[in-house]
Amino acid sequence: MTRLTLRPLGFVTAFAASLLALGLGAEAALAAPPAMTREQIIDRAVYGVGYSYWWGHGCWRTDGQSLGSCSGSCPSCTHTGSYGADCSGYVAKAWQVPSEIALTTDSHPYSTYNFRWESTWWSQVGWGDAKKADAFVYRNSANTGGHIILYESGDPWGSIWAYEAKGCSYGIVHNLKQLGSTYVALRRDNLTEAPVNGNLLGVIFEDLGVGVADMSVRLPGAQVECAGQGTTTAGSPDGDWSFSLPPGSYTVTASAAGYLPGSRTCQVLSGQDNWCSIGLFAECAPDCSGRECGLDPVCGQPCGTCAQGEVCTPAGSCEQLTGCALDCTGRDCGPDPVCGETCGVCPPQLWCNAAGNCEAMTIEDAKIYGYVVAAPEGATGDLSGYPVVPGALVSLDGVPMRESDHFGYWELIVAPGAYQLRAEASGYDPGETQCSVVAQGFTECIIPVYTSGTEPPDPDPPDPPDQGPGALRSGCACGAGSAGGALGGLLLIGMLCWLFVRARARERRSI
């Protein structure tokens, strides 16, 4: 058994202890503490929890056996068994100071006097800088009392999750506590900081259509899988979960009975809490009633396809298209690459990507969508009853973004925020409206253009003016006016526009 017990019990003994410490320092200098990570220190401390308080000692096992017991009032207390520790023996063993030593080998190299007033293998750090596996120590001015704990983390109040050999009645415990300012923070020498895990954590909630803006409905019991790392269950009642992971990027998928699975990819930064909450949409019953084509408006499930040469209206009926052979192969939404006609409209909570498929929004995105309608001058209130205007140019905060499709429909993926929307169409006076949208949310915005002059235009023109077969109608138009022409040009313009909108969204997020 190695026993290097320094236990000053008064000024004289403290002085003697200092002299002894000098000798110890000479010995310890030959056997410096091993390089350790903070996690390795805590791992050693965890094994000690449940063992008895043993004044002047420090040893425990890793199998939780032979806990021992303590009775009475220390130092005049009675200990039974071969394992246990007092507070300084516990910290010294977890820290492995002055040198590497087995947990089961009894040792007590330092008292709280040494920890408080010396800096043999440790140094003082600021309270606010304390990290996992640092210690807090106090020693009273009469030199008759002292205590030391290992810091693990904080809680919402700023209380400390601590490992400590608390006292005879308690033994070695893990608990939340608060400390007075008489304590000082210490950090062991020779810590290796690489790579410290970060916490990837979050809650699972029902997405009520506004993303993280409303996380009030939690889903405890949901399964949470971190790809390649493991699975856990969202806790009760908050639906909370967490993984401790090395720094990096991780994809987390959540699933719960009655809900559609949802995923997010989040970054884990070392030593930090990295939030990655996931909203799940309630499973829905597709509603194709009255529809023969397109996607059902509830779940986005296909309701059928139209015959060659027909186009699917937003209402889900097939309509004869003249002059162009529509090709919606592999597409659920957006413009077809041949005619530029719409292949369908996504349900509000999804957006149409460049490949023509409906896709879930990321937590940073939001969707604004709607129709351009022809309204009489001065019309206010609900504009949804007015006829739609195809081929209208929709601008976002003054920047032309895209044209409304054959059915007057348009959609944009944007950063959350408030926007000024404007529509221009040949034969109409331009109109504007304001819309705002939250993260992962969606907002329908009806943009009017106004009938002008004494000859109001045909409220429901079969084709927009100046656009023959093959003209871009439902695709993006990054510049003013329409783009006509070849398939390659259409695809190029569509892709450029999509990239522009995404880049703009990122730019807004970074502000």
Partner: protein, 422 residues
Amino acid sequence: MRAYLTKSLLLLGAVAVAAGAAAALGSDGLGRGGGEPVAAALPDGDAPLQGVRGTTGSPGTSRAIPALQGASRPAGKVGQVGQAGQTWQAGLAGRTGPGGQAGQAGHSASAVYARGAIALSPPSPAAAPRRELVFRLRWGSGPEELGYRTPEEAAPEGPMSFALGPSGSIWVLDQVNFRVQVVEQGRVARSVPLPNDSYQDIAVDGRGRLAVLDRLALRHVAWLEGAGQAWRFAGIEGPGMPEGGGATALFLETDGAWLEWSHQHLVRVTDARGLPDLARPQRWGRMTPDGQRLVRAARAGSHGAILLARDSRAARAGVEVLARPSFGRPLTYLTALCTGGAGRVLLGAHLIEHGSAAPFPVIAEEAWALVLGPVGQEEHRVKLPVSQSPATPFQGIRMAPDGAIYHLLYEDRGASLWRVRP
């Protein structure tokens, strides 16, 4: 635009803080962080407490934040800017109470206006909060004493908690001496023996039922139905309470004993008779006396806290931000969250400011109790004396239904309990 408005409001707030700082410091005349000399300088009788009402100096400002859901937000106004030499009350208000005013009797402050407004008004001429000594008992193990120990190589501890009992009695958890000391009229009227010396929290109710929490050694709630009855025990670890060391508060309610986990949710561990509750229902936060709301608090940033509330009756109720009080020094930890009559909430805060270089000396240490009204408006901000003991009580602050604040203080030779009537 939104950012501009926010900056403008912050700037106005900063001006208000600066305007109030000199007056506040002048009136306090504080030394090291305002730390009042403990024990020796405290009179046994009434003594004015160094308290301020929402003062904008050292303690900082309190900002009531608009509720996320269902808030009433009538148009507001900006109060007049004060004159030099006056102490001002400032608040960045969010939600209005009835009539758009603070709505508390005897309190003339007009800190609460509609969303986003900064309201400045002179403080009420009413008297400063008064502190009264409820009792002072010496350290020891005698009949009129309380146990205190600072062992060598173990945690120091004094009376870990106290509870406000019926008829003005104070039940002090004297666990070091294996007992509860029941104090009436400033004297120990009787003692209740405890099964162990490792209890850390206590709760009593109007019927004289007593519950004590041992979260570390025995990890149970011990329940005493009344004098002459036998103790009943219920284990605390299980669903909602994965380890006893994470218990942060004990509440005794008509349906049983509830424990709080890590200052977050609560779980019921006994039924109304003190027997283990196998169902272990959970709730989101601490309940207000009227049963209407649940509340939680947390540190927010280095100098502030956030107070959250939720409707207790709606399963899908949203969480609203009730207030965001801030302080002039680093908020090291919160010490109390109490709910009282008239929808009041008490928030305790402990502030420690250290030097920035080794040996990181303590520059200032302060303890504060904030009383917030039903919509989060700050009614009072009371400075409490700071103990220099290395021991820290598990629960050192309570609030009575009438709003009086009780504060347990460890002194050199004993413990004292103070009542503050804001």
